[in-house]
């Protein structure tokens, strides 16, 4: 069989030319002469990554040290690499994808997505908080894995890098949370209202956009900042908690025989329950405009009348959100109807 390239006469049955190594079966078998082509959907993705690579820092970070002269000498390659790895890994797997080794981290990215969704589903509960912590940990691991591990080989350096990225990401998680869920505020209820199926310690979600006085009615659950109303303390450590609105601005609120009386009307004890510490009180007060009379369960007893009034009346500025959803516990998850 004659080789098409070097024209050497080979023994029959050989697949490759003895002299030059060319494939001999090329002439006998039909050869596919149409090259593989890029799929249409891949084109924008590849273009995006090429554009990203054009940026100097990413080019320098891509493994070779070609563009090191673009950076000052006092910034070591390891620092540069670790920094850009951490920045790019804000989107988990992006740094790996640019480095073309996404497959090495793909299961971690899947785990991150699953943990994130689970933690959001259970957010507010202890398990949810734990899962959120794990999500953060996995995310930091992805960032560390992208570049830092390859550059720093000593344990203390790696640990320091991990902790620094952990703090950085923790701050960013909080910032992202605020931006993405800008209209939502979560908080624990410090009031027990059976008719609304809201119990003490439930995690409620509220909307920031619905705290205008026009939207507010008696019985609403509102997230109130209570740090300025006296050093009485909540059961929970949070600065803000969900409380129930009893009286609006201009209302006269009184407590008589362990019941709320608003503008002379006795309120239903199940719908507007009086907290234990207030049951011992007996007073009447007029709620100022742009203020609310709220009901919340506090620790301790023995407040004077003026202290009790000071605790119960909050200004409009102290209200952060109006609750619309019971989030935790799961068995009572649902919208708060009629409140």
């Amino acid at each position: 069989m004659r080789c098409q390239r070097c024209e050497f006469e080979n023994m029959p049955g050989l697949e490759k030319c003895m002299r030059c190594g060319s494939v001999l079966s090329a002439a006998a078998e039909p050869v596919d002469v149409h090259p593989p082509r890029m799929s249409r959907w891949k084109k924008p993705i590849r273009n995006l990554f090429r554009r990203l690579r054009k940026f100097m820092p990413i080019a320098a970070w891509s493994g070779d040290d070609l563009h090191s002269r673009a950076f000052p000498d006092w910034i070591s390659k390891a620092s540069r690499v670790a920094f850009f790895g951490a920045i790019l890994s804000l989107i988990p797997g992006l740094a790996h994808a640019i480095q073309r080794r996404f497959s090495s981290i793909r299961w971690w990215v899947v785990a991150w997505v699953v943990l994130l969704l689970s933690s959001l589903f259970l957010f507010g509960s202890g398990v949810g908080m734990f899962l959120m912590g794990l999500t953060l940990g996995v995310h930091v691991w992805i960032a560390v894995h992208s570049a830092l591990l390859a550059e720093y080989h000593q344990f203390n350096y790696r640990l320091a890098g991990y902790l620094i990225i952990m703090v950085m990401y923790f701050i960013l998680y909080q910032a992202f949370g605020r931006v993405i869920f800008y209209d939502l505020r979560g908080g624990y209820s410090v009031i027990n209202v059976p008719t609304a199926r809201v119990h003490h310690g439930d995690y409620l979600l509220g909307r920031v956009s619905q705290i205008d006085s026009a939207d507010m009615t008696r019985g609403n659950f509102v997230l109130a900042r209570l740090e300025n109303v006296g050093n009485h303390g909540f059961r929970r450590r949070a600065e803000a908690a969900y409380v129930q609105v009893i009286g609006l601005g201009g209302d006269t609120v009184a407590i008589e025989n362990g019941l709320f009386v608003v503008n002379g009307n006795i309120q239903d004890a199940k719908q507007f329950p009086v907290p234990t510490w207030l049951k011992q009180q007996s007073f009447s007060t007029v709620v100022a405009r742009d203020s609310y009379f709220i009901s919340a369960q506090y620790r301790g007893t023995g407040y004077t009348e003026s202290q009790a009034i000071e605790v119960c009346i909050v200004s409009q500025e102290q209200i952060e959100a109006k609750a619309f959803l019971r989030w935790i516990p799961l068995r009572r998850r649902g919208f708060i109807k009629g409140y």
Binding site: Q4, R5, C20, G21, S22, V23, A26, A27, V31, V33, H34, P35, P36, R37, M38, K43, R46, N47, R50, R53, A59, S62, G63, D64, L66, R69
Partner: protein, 255 residues
């Protein structure tokens, strides 16, 4: 009508006959020549298909294999170019030009270490052609080495019958790495040789506009006259015709 856009007819508007006229035998060399014309007209897709047709006629036609790989590179399909170079290397093992093509594909796909290795390999072979030296120059330009100019000179010295195409490639290479003034020298010779090549005019116009030369407008207009649908040329012409602020934004890459 989109499904019919890729049908191939003897459409002279898409593949202008730059070299001459007359009846030709439709052999591999004919399609190869047409592919080069399409390339000069910046129609890389059609050039690729012409190379494929050349291979359909003669599957052992080396220039068509090499051309296909280069057209894939020009189309930005680097992984596919690498795959196709591997396939070509099965038929032409250790061919320096194929190794160089693979190196170029790796280089443009930001795989510098691999590109360097393939370029080293290609240059160590016998009978090294001009393209091998051009790829070597590209590798060296990427690493900001001054020896790149010597490689381009070597490539030009080695190219006998393809001196103009090599010069064109050298000009494009230098343009890609921002060496506009040197690129202009090469490209001006190229446009004299290929006055109907839209791509050559575009490359020249691009370099001239980056250097702030007023001739850029003429070159780009000439390019658009030859190829009215050349998007990049239209954009570059907008930049070249813009005022001071527009040009400044173009310089900064913001427009």
């Amino acid at each position: 009508m989109k499904r019919f856009t890729h049908l191939e007819f003897d459409d002279t508007s898409r593949s202008p006959d730059l070299s001459g006229n007359g009846e030709s035998v439709r052999d591999a060399a004919y399609f190869h020549q047409r592919a080069i014309q399409c390339f000069l007209h910046s129609d890389f897709e059609l050039a690729l298909r012409n190379y494929s047709r050349a291979l359909e006629v003669n599957s052992s036609f080396f220039d068509a294999w090499a051309g296909q790989i280069w057209m894939l590179i020009e189309l930005g399909e680097y992984p596919e170019a690498i795959v196709w170079a591997d396939k070509a290397l099965e038929s032409f093992p250790e061919h320096p030009e194929l190794l160089a093509s693979k190196a170029a594909a790796c280089l443009r796909d930001a795989k510098f270490e691999k590109a360097k290795a393939y370029s080293d390999n290609s240059i160590s072979k016998d009978n090294v052609g001009p393209r091998v030296w051009l790829v070597r120059a590209e590798v060296l330009l990427q690493s900001k080495s001054r020896v790149a100019d010597n490689c381009i000179s070597k490539a030009l010295a080695l190219s006998d019958d393809k001196a103009d195409l090599t010069r064109f490639e050298a000009g494009r290479l230098l343009r890609r790495y921002g060496r506009y003034s040197t690129a202009v020298e090469y490209l001006q010779e190229v446009v004299h040789q290929f006055p109907k090549s839209a791509l050559a005019w575009y490359e020249l116009g691009y370099c001239q506009s980056r250097l702030g030369f007023t001739q850029a407008k003429t070159s780009l207009e000439q390019c658009l006259h030859l190829h009215p649908h050349f998007t990049e040329a239209k954009e570059r012409l907008k930049c070249a015709s813009a005022g001071f602020l527009g040009r400044l934004l173009c310089r900064l890459g913001l427009r």
